[in-house]
Symmetry: C2
Subunit: 249 residues, 2 copies
């Protein structure tokens, strides 16, 4: 799908970095060099580099060059940036995924659901509760709410396989932005029933609202992870702080 030039340059550089064609801390070729190499404009090279920066792969330094700061992840991370289905994320971590559907229902949002999920009261939804296994061990409990209007035809069989494949492939839904919140919550009776928690009394919880390309909220999911199999990674950049004079006093 993305055959844009900046994207192919981005992927090419990314692969070179990952395969250590450039050493850690080494400078990448200058923009000027890359322009010649890829036969494109400066803007296009800069855009590719901007994406690598956002990924935490490189660090441009004014007047000096662009430094490779990529370090391969030693330990498998469960969740990293982007929006991924359970199957995609399991595959990235080389684990065998499987799913058991615990509940599958058609419901109508009430006040309580509105407050939790963001779907307005009266909205027609699917509610799905699923247990997720990695290499045969139950580790994640998912509660999904899907907007029926945009996800019609969902079945337990699809829920067991891959909802995202169905939505993107069969229905042609375009998944766009997702707003996620990560918290740590006490275990519930349902958690305890299905997941062997050892002596943990907390779960790592990712709550997310997902929008399609029309900006319509079509999914709310609460994904409850057993702590020891949970890891979330992120790259942040420093922003200059705007100034709050009253603190200085």
């Amino acid at each position: 799908m993305p055959k844009a030039k900046y994207n192919s340059i981005y992927r090419d550089l990314k692969e070179k970095i990952e395969t250590e064609a450039y050493a850690y801390q080494e400078m990448l070729p200058s923009e000027h060099t890359l322009i010649a190499e890829y036969g494109c404009s400066r803007n296009t090279v800069r855009r590719a580099i901007a994406e690598l920066t956002a990924d935490g792969y490189v660090q441009p330094m004014h007047g000096k060059g662009v430094r490779n700061i990529f370090q391969p992840v030693k330990q498998a991370a469960f969740t990293v940036g982007g929006i991924e289905s359970f199957r995609e994320s399991a595959a990235r971590n080389r684990r065998r995924p499987s799913t058991k559907v615990l509940q599958f229902a058609q419901i109508t949002a009430d006040e309580k659901i509105q407050k939790r999920t963001g779907f307005l009261k009266g909205t027609e939804l699917y509610y799905i509760q699923r247990l997720r296994f990695l290499n045969g061990e139950p580790l994640i409990l998912d509660h999904n709410y899907f907007l029926r209007e945009l996800t019609s035809g969902l079945t337990p069989a699809i829920a067991e396989r891959s909802v995202y494949d169905y939505l993107e492939g069969t229905l042609g839904l375009t998944i766009s932005t997702s707003r996620r919140t990560l918290t740590v919550e006490r275990v519930t009776q349902v958690d305890e029933k299905y997941i062997d928690l050892h002596d943990y009394n907390c779960m790592a919880v990712i709550s997310s609202q997902t929008f399609d390309d029309n900006g319509i909220l079509f999914e709310f999911t609460q994904s409850r992870h057993r702590p020891d199999y949970f890891r979330f990674q992120d790259v942040a950049t420093r922003r200059r702080v705007p100034a709050f004079p009253e603190w200085e006093a």
Copy 2:
């Protein structure tokens, strides 16, 4: 610091969105309109919009316009994107921060520290252990390792006030990228000693490596948060899956 034009447009639009000058789901003015409004080029407007998109504030739709998808956070969030000092983050959440220094030492990295922090064996470091209070309640336990070579002159007094102010202000260090990992870990004896955990037996743990603008790792921090006061937010975007040849047929 950032007096760049795109940045002022970004901040202006951001404030308008936050103060609901544009309603949720409403379209922003078109690029053409914004160009006239701000008296700048199209690229400059587009760059500001790109930043708002990365923040999850808006969603550009090809051929249609740019939609406002910002929803104010109901519950105070403790940690969101970016690199923030404890004081900055407390202020953003309108809480009164205070800090007690539990340990302050000069150490040399050994094998174990190298493995945990990424500092090579033999590196001269400061090790600081601090207890963080919000509105007088102890909620966070921080373990910091700073590279002495780049952070010389640190004292317990500075550690109690603000290390970042000292590094950025006095030393002129420029903080750049940070690689963070979020996990949930069992409480330690030290956690229990200083933080009233109720019956939680886990902590939310953010481990981060921070680099300066020369790409040098100068800080490793492990920040252990009491679960009920912890919240992490994120906006993700769906990346097109690279190759489905059958679609092209």
